[in-house]
Symmetry: D2
Subunit: 337 residues, 4 copies
């Protein structure tokens, strides 16, 4: 923490700040310049609100000099975290592909899709059983029946399952069927859910909130890790900006930024990130080229009749084409797929 | 729904769109111009994804011509909704003031604050018992004990209680102590919570999400109302923009916009909207001048030692000053306070 | 400037940073903590790019501790700047009202509008002669003829003239007719124009860019002032956000923020800030209630046939109503109108 | 244009809208549904402000059904525009690389950089001679001397020159030295500059404004093309969002979006798009993988002493590495480099 005083700050005001910092548990260090006094404060104080200093008399600016997170940071752990689930590694040399429909709709649908995406090279099957929709009048998912169908389809083709858990109360149910818990963008700051997931021992796939800064996203991962579960992967899925041609703006630059700040794997979701089918291929290629450890892709055998988000689902043959393109790209990053 | 075809669209493509629209339950209406064909679709289809049309061959653009919400709309109900709780009316001629600390911290704290804000004219006492904090290492609230103290303090000074419910599972507990359920900005799209609140008969104070469009905010209110609870008030509390001098950008223009689109009352929260004490007075005045039906203001007897958000809490004497200023302003809107 | 080193930074890296800072002209101050070394740098170096330090090996974060502007700052001048033009004061106790059409369209139009706005209390007449339009196919203004008509209309009713100068080359022409140079939002960082205006002795009305931070806006004012012209007023006219119900989001909180950082007067433009007539009154009231030193309002005698921006122009009787409302509000701020 | 009336609109109001549309030159088409009347308007009216209809009594919503631009549109020209300058093609099968320093600083500097980037495969040399800086106290460029040095260096290695023209008045000067006119992000809506460039016969490299929507960017290209110069290439260089880890958010998805809407080539500038060296490589790879027709990269032989933007300049060996990686990626798009 560095507190910069106003140039006209009185000695009394300076002393009040020093005292306040000590009260907060910092050791302080005063540096009196020609125009201003600057007070450095050393200490390891997470969970502190720097505005408490900012509103003090004579204070010009307060600057936090350490990240508010610990466990997610490269400072805490310098090597990449690699999450191993059976024979799949996430965050290692191989780029991991997760694919499947937005929602599980029927046995035939999920089995058919699982077959074609696994043939093309996807290792993890995605599919929603509980669908939070922005309209109360839209399809809300198949519930537990959907989870069962998803698990069966994955098992048949030797795939892992990732699926969303919407609420703390659903954790026991989802645990039975999933290999990876997915949390949705709207739940990124559902701290009671994050805490509870932190007490489980299954990997967590944490989507970035639509308006979340990278720092807030990492803080959400910290919530999970602070309870003991260190298997977290971060998923960039688009942020909200003024541009409306695409549903969201997929923040590709977040991939190298997170890789620098944290040791956790980063996955990109170009399907939600763009919201429209013909932008998914270019953005999936871009994400992998930027260094993503994996991509999550929505694929549907009959997108025109999908019960949710059909417009952003790839046709199976587009998914094959994408896999072919990614195989060309990954050697540029010394990776395989 | 209006579907605009590409200028080079084939007759076959046009027919496919018409058929799809009929399948969706619309009656259609074709208008063939010199350069393009435009297909109008009349029908009352909420919960529809217009992207399903947009991805069809030959389609240039799809335009939704009715709002996705019904019950919250002025089309559905043209007079203002006035919510009556005991002798307090929200959405009527009187501007309602809700005030209190960010968190309930102790009996003395909450009683002391309730006393001074009620004297100054606040009718509703606010205070958090469960605090979702962006850091897992920060103060997380007093829980039920906080609710009790809040209720006792309010009763002593004849005030109503508004407090946050974080999770569906907390509803029974909060019902015992609160007059108004508050939902937080991060929970604006926690649809299972909204649904459950829709089944209660207590008013809901629905904060706008930090990145929520006005339409999404109204859709969230629709979730509550679609379950039968029509007592919803909307709270503007700042949106996230590129500007970082203030914590959020209080979107004052949302006040007249919502008043035009909906019959529900609109409250402003300049404390969270700005995040810093000396901006609260000007922004509270601005919100009332723009037509807000009320304001929610954080006040603390000892902000320097508040356990959360002290930097944005007013001193009691600042709150008195604010009430004095608002009394001057409201006659410009033919209102009282 | 404070440079925070990585916790694992080597002594060599620390020395390289210290040397670089000295080379840049700073006196440095090292503070070695348990986990990190922090280097304070004192000196008055505007025009410096802190990223040059940020990319050095071992550097964790670089924090600038002084504003990049000087002359616009309250540190430089603590009392409010009051701009006096004939008998009008901008930035003093009186709230100043500027009104008129978007574009000057004819003698009758501008005289008619000048008459009604001056009667209602506006002291300054606005009107565009050169109209930069986002489409090359739209009306582009009357040019010099428009300036003449504007001046004549203003003189007839004892008003001042504010009008836009689009380009450095137009300054001599506009000088002949205007009392105040207006610069448009798209020109906020047209530095050659700003510099040139800084060499004149007429006040400058500097609109905030649609995506400009408050700091960038103040830096634009610094460009003008650094050439010797200290008569700058800042105009908040809406920023671009994800919300699209209003054309822009009028950032009302920028008013108290700028008043804290700078001594310059702040005006609000709710006409461009909202883009639609029925939002202008509430937002003008809000701006004044938040402390704006003035408002600029578009008024047209026949908005339905205005050649530009008719949709955001008030009818004369709405302008009368607005003036009546503002007269009620200003005593809350100890001001007159 | 489609005008959707309120459900309670009177016949009189409907007639007024129809009349207004005819007055504007549209042929209209009325469609009376059970709940609402919808009026379709066919005609080719660019430069129209739909808000003029929106403010009419009884109007619920107005929807524009054609793009406001013509010449830039794929509807106007379906094949890709390929710009040929000597033996370089921009927009063809080959991905074009433009590289060089932010500012020309000396003969040695520019010659040294030109040598290494041309060896590595860059065909076009970039470098600024006039530098608009956000601070009036920063280095402002070498002026004409810089242009000369840039031309000489390019000629020596058989390269083309792209450099920024800041102002209409600089066009004759820059024409002497440059092969391609660059317009800066802050000038994207400097319409008098765009118009004037439209009268020249040299290609224009048009940077997207920091807060410009894709539509506004295309409209800026329309300004150039409407004067007769059809050789425009569009440069994505990052937009302003709430995220501040990177200077801007490079909107990679704009690349496929523009390719769908327009026939013009799209180039990406990851140096300005991220603002920091170690993000340039991943984002350049991502842009090319997403389909960019080229990239513009800042390279400096001694970034630590660059007079501007050194922090975002690659070292020559990083540029070599980038070229090696891009060569691996481009076959995935059936392109060469």
């Amino acid at each position: 923490m560095v507190v910069v005083m106003e140039s006209h700050a009185t000695e009394e005001q300076i002393q009040a700040v020093i005292e306040k910092l000590r009260e907060m548990g910092f050791s302080t260090h005063r540096s009196t310049g020609v125009t201003r006094t600057v007070i450095g404060a050393i200490g390891d104080k997470t969970g502190l609100d720097e505005r408490d200093l900012q509103v003090m008399e004579g204070v010009h600016e307060v600057v936090r000099i350490s990240e508010p997170y610990k466990l997610v940071s490269r400072t805490f752990r310098s090597e990449n975290t690699v999450i191993r689930i059976r024979d799949v590694e996430i965050g290692g040399d191989q780029v991991v592909v997760m694919a499947g429909p937005c929602s599980v709709e029927s046995r035939d649908q999920i089995v058919g899709i699982a077959e074609c995406v696994s043939k093309a090279g996807a290792r993890i099957l995605r599919g929603g059983a509980f669908k939070p929709r922005s309209s109360p009048y839209s399809f809300q998912g198949m519930g537990e029946e959907g989870l069962k169908l998803l698990r069966q389809a994955a098992d048949r083709f030797g795939m892992l399952v990732v699926t969303e858990v919407m609420d703390r109360s659903q954790i026991p149910l989802v645990t039975e069927y999933a290999d990876i818990f997915q949390t949705g963008a709207r739940n990124m700051q559902n701290f009671s859910l994050l805490r509870e997931l932190g007490k489980t021992r299954k990997p967590v796939f944490l989507k970035r909130g639509m308006a979340a800064t990278i720092e807030e996203w990492l803080m959400a991962a910290e919530y999970v890790m602070s309870e003991g579960n260190h298997q977290v992967m971060l998923c960039e899925r688009g942020i909200r900006t003024f541009e409306t041609y695409t549903r969201n703006t997929l923040d590709i630059s977040a991939i190298p930024v997170v890789h620098k700040l944290s040791h956790l794997p980063v996955i990109a979701d170009p399907s939600h990130g763009t919201g429209i089918r013909d932008k998914v291929l270019p953005m999936a290629r871009a994400a992998v080229a930027a260094g993503a450890d994996g991509v999550m892709i929505e694929v549907h055998n009959d997108p025109a009749h999908a019960l949710s988000d059909g417009a952003q689902a790839l046709f199976p043959e587009q998914f094959d084409e994408l896999m072919r393109e990614l195989r060309i790209i990954v050697p540029a990053l010394n990776r395989t797929i």
